[in-house]
Amino acid sequence: MSDVADRVRKIVVEHLGVEEDKVVENASFIDDLGADSLDTVELVMAFEEEFGIEIPDDAAETIQTFGDAVRFIKEAQ
């Protein structure tokens, strides 16, 4: 696992209070990790801060799973 994935996982674990081993490639923030829609907004805010990137609203909507987030951030960097 890359550094990006580790950092994203850490944010997700901290923010959603889930077990680290639940945060897998296809884990959906809402369906699998118990996030509500506001949590997903906050996750995106946290990603923006951690990686110093900007995630526009239309892109944020496409980030549904842990894998989506890692892929998006890698491309944005």
Binding site: D36, L38, V41, E42, M45
Partner: protein, 245 residues
């Protein structure tokens, strides 16, 4: 009674009677205040009379870019932003049949759209802080309507619906969103009325007098306080009984 020590509050329309009273009340409770408005001179004057913990942040609310930049400027100046009071408002009164689209658009832009923009700008830092207070100054006419004020009433009613919706979304993050709806308050805006108009209005107010700006400020101070943490999506009517809603 209410302690806002360490909190930072941005008040729009602080150059006006009600806005000035709101800023003074929040400041008196210990808050750092950002005074926003279009006219710099009265803002500077107010800041000077308040002394420490007062920052002047001029902004033209019909300029979208300036409005979007205001929360950031406020945070830079004050070191945070915990309380937002959207108080600024304009009127362009006319009979509905004669109301131009421009009068409609201007009032909606300044009174409602700029409020939306500022709310959007402050929700993010408030969500992070898990604490926030948004207080939107609506009006009795948003609930009752008023001849000649279709635009103003629409904007003020719109504010209430918007506030309730935002309140739903952010309640779980410790942020409350409420409205204060003043009735007739003695300010420069109501000074323009003639004696006949004034006595006509007084006849409709059970309290038999116009309200004072400080009485609106007291309602805002309460909603801004930690004590009001369980009040959200509410509209506090301060109107001497003119409309009991």
């Amino acid at each position: 009674m209410f302690d806002l020590t360490g909190k930072c509050a941005l008040v729009t329309g602080a150059s006006g009677g009600i806005g000035g009273a709101i800023a003074t009340a929040l400041h008196g409770a210990g808050a750092t205040v950002g005074l926003s408005g279009t006219r710099t001179a009265p803002l500077e004057e107010l800041a000077a009379s308040l002394g420490d913990r007062a920052h002047v942040l001029p902004c033209n609310l019909s300029d979208a870019e300036a409005v979007n930049a205001l929360p950031k400027q406020a945070i830079e100046a004050m070191g945070g932003l915990d309380i937002l009071v959207n108080n600024a408002g304009i009127t362009r009164d006319n009979l509905f049949m004669r109301m131009s689209e421009e009068d409609w658009a201007q009032v909606l832009e300044v009174n409602l759209t700029s409020t939306m923009r500022l709310c959007k700008g402050v929700v993010r830092p408030m969500m992070k802080a898990r604490w926030g207070r948004i207080i939107n100054i609506s009006s009795i006419v948003g609930a009752t309507g008023n001849p000649g004020q279709a635009n103003y009433a629409a904007a003020k009613a719109g504010m209430v619906g918007m506030s309730k919706s935002i309140a739903y979304e952010v309640a779980s993050r410790g942020i409350t969103v409420n409205c204060v709806a003043p009735g007739f308050i003695a300010t420069a805006m109501t000074d323009k009325l003639n004696d006949e108009q004034k006595s006509g209005i007084l006849g409709q107010i059970p309290a038999g007098r116009m309200g004072e700006a400080e009485e609106i400020a007291a309602a805002v101070l309460y909603l801004a306080s930690p004590e009001a943490g369980y009040v959200t999506g509410a509209t506090l009517h301060v109107n001497g009984g003119m409309a009991m809603l």
